[in-house]
Symmetry: C2
Subunit: 458 residues, 2 copies
């Protein structure tokens, strides 16, 4: 990993030109079973409002980070039941012939409003509000939750690591510890939440994320001596590359590196040992040898706590693997997708909510605002109403930022949230709104959310 | 979730007919950087042996379960650098023009031997042995680890849950708590390790796994009354369906269910509350009402410990979500991919291993056997040798089972391990080998592996 390798370019063509598989069966069977029954009893097109939200923050953290929205919009374009999908449903009698016919014509024609990607969220924040007929809206539950729960879990962990790292660059290199396609999504989510680069090439190709990486231990082991390995790497990548110096003995590795590369060596990478001790020793040795500008990158089992513990060590950059792609102890954001309002028989709206123990939810369509006091966030203000028209005039707090935007308008995703441009916008938005957090929001310890969620009647 | 819904059919066509994206860039950048340097210094085609193994078992568990092998073989067929991938690498100067030319012609022509999918593994077990030129073999590292680390983590958790559940059926329903494509892989891994069904329809379509599911809380909330919702569901799905009875008040829910369905109701599902208490109350109420054959399914935040704690409760089936798809606290199996042997300048084989603190590995090609005493496993016996020819005559223990099979022969995957048939074979193999575990291997507590890993010199 070197400073010279991260490269940032817009992809040459939109990712949608790649072969795209249908996303329609990335769905729990009961969604289709309910459509089946709803088509039969006449409730399939009953206007409904579903809400995607988290009851609590994963891992008792101070804030959540919304991620995955841009991916969801893209998968929504591919959420069509094609011949293969319909044949499976028909031949395995998952649903009736009438339902197969309904699904054949299906595309989502409703509206989705929600938080921007990169936005912070708190318990109860209405991250997505999906409005449409019951059948068309319920069927998006699994896909929406899969994407948001995974990507937000990674983004949340990444944001904490980014806070811990301060100004030092962070690279995501956890692909090997995540399923192969999740790894691409994880690289994307980490980048939105403050990482600067990824090792994952597909994330570079599809999402335009800077990629990095130079050599593994296998490179050294392939050669008869460490010196040969270093010499070959420098011949190929130049003296500004980063050499991995812990395959055998670290002190000898550093000496060999500088002997081969000279004091202009770009960097060394340490991937094992007690990092504060080792980093200090390596820095002292490099300085003694005159390689005062040679950077030190550390990459061994880091998480936000290990990064914070290295704040006073002479480390120039961090590479993070397992912990960021697995959400650092909270691999899912635990969001849910609930029916919160529907039209009644008289055409009026009815708020609905289940009353299950520990899993109760708050009915009604919601509008969300972040109140601010001289630039610092003070609360997550949620206005609850049965009537859509009333809600937008509610909560007209003088210093509040409205949190919801239209993501899908009568079936049409807003393309500005998709693709590499959507990723860039989300990353910029995240950096901006994280500045609004009160100081206690930056703490790594387990505790209460940094902002209270305040409900008001609209 | 009902007994009638799981359906088992072979898919009508091989999954490979679906649009397939290249898997070649699901790869860390440094793999290609190393190829770049190796092509330049002449080591790219140096014969090498890489090994994929776990240094320890995740979560201090008693055994690991190999999963993902069949998926890896399928992705290996798609591991080709197409126009899109090559254009990205060229335009972003990830590698040199010579390397682009090498990758254009790339396909893996080496040999992979390894453990069968569904097999148990222990620390140091040589789960995969990849043999080929340095460049062609090193480049598979990220993809192989991504797939095996994810799928094995899920399979391991699933196996423990399956042990805890005993003869009661287990269904996987965690799609919403896993990234959308990982969810399909997770359903597959859980099925291999003993689950009986999944909620994920794509897993049904692609891998032939039985699917299940009836209705969510949204179904009840959609209707004006719980009674209407139950009536509609029974009209559509028949009286043998499973009704979700905890949207409002459980006692009323059960009473309504039996009033609507009669005592022939297939089942009720409980998704909240203190399950041992609630299950006992619901069972008593059902019996009082005469619905003595109505089954109880529980689905609320179960893991292997919660399942074990319900062993004495009147529960008929379990649905497991978050915990199985996230590996129940160990979301990655933590396997690594290391160069263990290479040809030296004289054509002889050299064992290699790094010496990094806490991350040392054991060089040399390995052959693995499970020793048995009257059908019960006693050790993981690993014969280490530099010479391939010596190793197969080694460790000729009278009562030992050889653990490695050829998965890819000179570039050609063995199709019998792929597709739905591969899944069935893996599930059957897992059931068989789990029977060999000593009793202590069935414990859920954190401890030592159930078998010692014993190394012998060949």
């Amino acid at each position: 990993m070197t400073r010279e390798t991260p490269q940032r370019h817009a992809p040459l063509r939109p990712a949608t030109e790649a072969p795209r598989a249908s996303s329609a069966l990335l769905t729990d069977r009961y969604e289709l079973t309910m459509i089946d029954a709803a088509l039969r009893d006449g409730t399939a097109s009953r206007p409904c409002v579903f809400e995607l939200f988290g009851r609590r923050l994963p891992g008792a953290r101070r804030f959540g980070v919304v991620a995955g929205t841009g991916r969801l919009l893209q998968e929504l374009r591919d959420f069509r039941f094609g011949d293969d999908e319909l044949r499976y449903l028909r031949d395995h009698r998952v649903v009736s012939a009438d339902t197969v016919a309904f699904l054949e014509d299906y595309r989502f024609r409703g509206t989705i409003r929600g938080y921007r990607e990169g936005e912070l969220y708190f318990p109860g924040s209405p991250i997505l509000t999906v409005e449409g007929g019951f059948a068309e809206a319920v069927v998006l539950e699994t896909l929406a939750l899969s994407i948001l729960n995974h990507d937000s879990a990674v983004a949340n962990a990444a944001a904490r690591m980014s806070i811990a790292a301060g100004d030092r660059p962070l690279a995501e290199m956890g692909s090997r510890r995540a399923a192969e396609r999740s790894a691409v999504a994880a690289a994307r989510a980490a980048y939105i939440a403050g990482f600067g680069a990824t090792s994952n090439l597909e994330a570079g190709r599809i999402w335009g994320i800077p990629t990095m990486g130079t050599a593994a231990h296998a490179w050294t082991l392939l050669h008869d001596t460490e010196e040969q390995a270093f010499r070959s790497q420098i011949d190929a990548l130049g003296v500004d590359t980063t050499l991995l110096i812990d395959t055998y003995d670290i002190r000898e590795g550093v000496a060999t590196a500088i002997r081969v590369a000279g004091t202009a060596l770009g960097g060394v990478r340490i991937d094992s040992g007690d990092l504060p001790t080792v980093a200090a020793e390596v820095r002292a040795q490099l300085d003694e040898l005159g390689a005062t500008n040679t950077r030190i990158t550390v990459t061994s089992d880091l998480d936000e706590f290990a990064i914070a513990a290295l704040a006073a060590s002479p480390v120039d950059a961090y590479g993070v693997g397992t912990s960021v792609v697995t959400g650092s102890g909270a691999p899912t954001a635990g969001m849910v997708y609930k029916l919160v309002a529907r039209q009644g028989g008289d055409g009026g709206w009815v708020s609905v909510a289940k009353a299950s123990a520990d899993k109760s939810s708050k009915g009604g369509r919601k509008a969300a605002f972040r109140t601010l006091d001289r630039g610092t966030a003070t609360s997550e203000l949620i206005a609850v109403s049965d009537g859509f028209e009333k809600i937008h005039t509610a909560a007209a707090h003088p210093d509040a930022r409205a949190l919801q935007v239209t993501l899908v308008d009568r079936g049409e995703p807003d393309a500005s949230f998709e693709g590499p441009a959507g990723v860039d916008a989300a990353r910029a938005h995240h950096a901006l709104v994280r500045e609004e957090l009160p100081v206690k929001g930056l703490a790594l310890s387990r505790s209460e959310p940094a902002l209270p969620t305040v409900y008001i009647d609209a």
